[in-house]
């Protein structure tokens, strides 16, 4: 690669990261803003952090969101990857219907998915709450994993896996040792997308959750009518900082383990 192209590439990467992170920095800066209502800067304060510490239900909602998102992303990644492999490799009755379902799910407006799942849960007589929310989020995120993994598997060499099978590997071992390592980056990408979707979903969550289980996006969106309170900014800043610390920690851990 020529030097000029390389500089261009670095510039682009930095620009995109700047685009992604500037709004987050704004949120963090405004979490120290001494104003209850405006978007103007009125001076430094830590009061929103103490307000946050006193706001138990808000913190509970955030923790609920984290647990649902972690579990939902993991289950959706497993199911979504399996779905991609089934669609890609196996012939079985209803394969096309299944593949169609994946795309229908992505295009379904949230409100439609939320209401139809709620009706389904009511018909099944399930208690609304954590489990119904989890099932809905898995369903919401699954197609994103499948589409990503399918794209990764699209041009791969079928002979590899056939060779493994010829050598006597079971379907599971072929999956574990050939397919999965090959699909790994897409699987990881799928998990990240699923986690993001689950952390941010409002309308589906609204309909499928019950009177005892509240998640963060619902609580934030329901503030619109009365004005979003700045302790949300403080919460966002805390969550962001914790994430970054976790990532740095994980990176250091993997690096030392490699050595």
């Amino acid at each position: 690669m020529t030097l000029r192209l390389r500089t261009l590439r670095t510039c682009l990467v930095w620009l995109v990261y700047a685009f992604l992170y500037v709004p987050i920095l704004v949120v963090i800066v405004y979490s120290f803003n001494d104003a209850r209502y405006t978007t103007e800067w009125k001076g430094f304060t830590l009061k929103w952090y103490s307000a946050l510490a006193a706001n138990g239900p808000l913190v509970d909602a955030a923790l609920n969101s984290l647990s649902v998102a972690t579990l939902a992303a993991t289950i959706a990644t497993v199911l979504g990857t399996l779905a991609a492999i089934c669609i890609r490799r196996y012939r079985f009755p209803g394969r096309k219907v299944l593949h169609g379902c994946i795309y229908v799910l992505t295009v379904s407006p949230d409100i439609v998915m939320g209401i139809s799942l709620l009706i389904f849960f009511i018909a099944m007589g399930v208690q609304l709450g954590f489990w119904t929310l989890l099932a809905a989020h898995v369903t919401l995120a699954l197609p994103f994993v499948t589409v990503t993994v399918l794209a990764r598997l699209a041009e791969f060499d079928e002979q590899l896996i056939e060779a493994a099978r010829d050598l006597g590997a079971s379907e599971w071992r072929a999956f574990r040792h050939v397919l999965l390592p090959l699909a790994a980056p897409a699987v990881a990408a799928g998990w990240l997308l699923s986690f993001t979707l689950s952390m941010d979903d409002v309308l589906v969550s609204f309909f499928v959750t019950g009177p005892t289980f509240e998640v963060l996006p619902l609580r934030v969106y329901s503030m619109v009518r009365l004005g979003v309170k700045p302790d949300i900014n403080a919460l966002s800043a805390v969550m962001f900082t914790v994430t970054i610390v976790l990532v740095l920690l994980a990176q250091t851990l993997t690096r030392t383990r490699r050595k």
């Binding site: 590439r9 682009l12 990467v13 990261y17 500037v22 709004p23 987050i24 949120v27 405004y30 978007t39 199911l79 779905a83 492999i85 089934c86 890609r88 490799r89 196996y90 079985f92 096309k96 299944l98 593949h99 994946i102 795309y103 229908v104 992505t106 295009v107 379904s108 407006p109 949230d110 409100i111 439609v112 139809s116 799942l117 009706i119 389904f120 699954l142 589409v147 990503t148 399918l150 794209a151 990764r152 598997l153 699209a154 041009e155 791969f156 079971s170 090959l182 980056p185 990881a188 990408a189 990240l192 997308l193 986690f195 993001t196 952390m199 309308l203 900014n233 969550m239 962001f240 990532v247």
Partner: protein, 318 residues
């Protein structure tokens, strides 16, 4: 096929069970509702009618659909133009760095979207961050506002949807065999030609996947056009939400949602047909051996039926 394959059977069963239960069943229910009449006491009443579809054959609805499709397509294009070079840069970065660069892309999205949108308002509003920066640079002499217009809407949509473009693209570009590119260059192809004839076709599945994951959700997305754009026109997502919640006309909302789905299926079929034709032509031309070299017909695989691997299947069989 005759041998026992517990893994295969189990996977198919689990996937079928989940999608059948949580996707197929509710959507069949939805389809049923589109043929029913609106009811006062239970939202729908069990009377068959075609009326809901007839009511959607209305210039108002067509305009709503057209506006939404245009907005979704344009934001998909913007995401692709930014996302592709970015994903390419990340996928060709130092190996150990790649997962972390990717993680850094999604971390901002774990902050609530409404909060991020409000942050965008702080940046875009009159006398906001963007305006102040431009003033400080001397590019404008008076405070400017970027709010409540197409610019704000596209900024918001691109901002929200970018990771859904970057991640599938990354997963697809990352496995690109660099040797193919080198071979093309050794054969005297310019960088541009090599990109056009080798990189692009090989990463096409990723492009298609990324575009789908941006285009489809953006069709239903309405809160960004609402908050940043000022809600001056109605979008399909808004229309459907209105039918379900405000007007409480579930059959009409369900019919609108079904039309959206049908439109999507037609687009998938159209894509598949055209990619097959392109693939056939390419194969006949045979000047871009890289894309198909060394491939044998896929024995275990039936005709391509889907978007992402349709192109591959077609090539494999040609």
């Amino acid at each position: 096929m005759t041998q026992r394959r517990p893994f295969r059977t189990a996977s198919i069963a689990v996937v079928w069970l989940w999608l059948g239960l949580f996707a197929l069943l509710p959507n069949l229910g939805l389809l049923l509702v589109t043929f029913l009449e609106r009811g006062e006491s239970d939202f729908v009443s069990l009377v068959f009618t075609w009326d809901n579809y007839a009511r959607l054959a209305d210039p108002v609805f067509v305009r709503i659909l057209g506006e939404s499709l245009w907005l979704a397509a344009a934001s998909t294009l913007v995401c692709l133009l930014i996302g592709y070079p970015f994903a390419y840069a990340v996928a060709t970065a130092r190996r150990g760095l790649r997962p972390w660069l990717l993680l850094l892309v999604v971390i901002p999205f774990w902050t609530n979207s409404l909060i991020r949108t409000y942050a965008l308002i702080i940046i875009l509003k009159s006398q906001g961050l963007a305006s102040n920066v431009l003033m400080a640079l001397g590019l404008v002499s008076e405070p400017v506002s970027f709010m409540y217009g197409e610019f704000a809407v596209f900024t918001g949509l691109t901002y929200t949807l970018l990771p859904f473009m970057i991640l599938p693209l990354y997963a697809s570009i990352e496995k690109l065999d660099k040797r193919l590119l080198d071979a093309a260059k050794d054969l005297g192809a310019s960088s541009l030609r090599a990109f056009w004839h080798v990189t692009l076709p090989l990463t096409l599945p990723g492009i298609v996947a990324g575009c789908m994951l941006v285009f489809l959700p953006s069709l239903g997305c309405f809160y960004i056009p609402e908050i940043l754009g000022g809600a001056k026109s109605m979008l399909i997502g808004n229309f459907i939400k209105n039918q379900f919640l405000v007007a409480r006309d579930w059959p009409l909302g369900a019919a609108a949602s079904t039309i959206l789905t049908v439109l999507l299926v037609l687009m998938i079929i159209g894509y598949w047909l055209s990619s097959r034709r392109v693939a056939l032509r390419e194969r006949k031309g045979a000047d871009t051996g890289a894309a198909t070299a060394g491939r044998t017909p896929d024995a275990t695989h039936e005709d391509g039926d889907g978007m992402t691997h349709g192109a591959h299947d077609a090539r494999g069989r040609a």
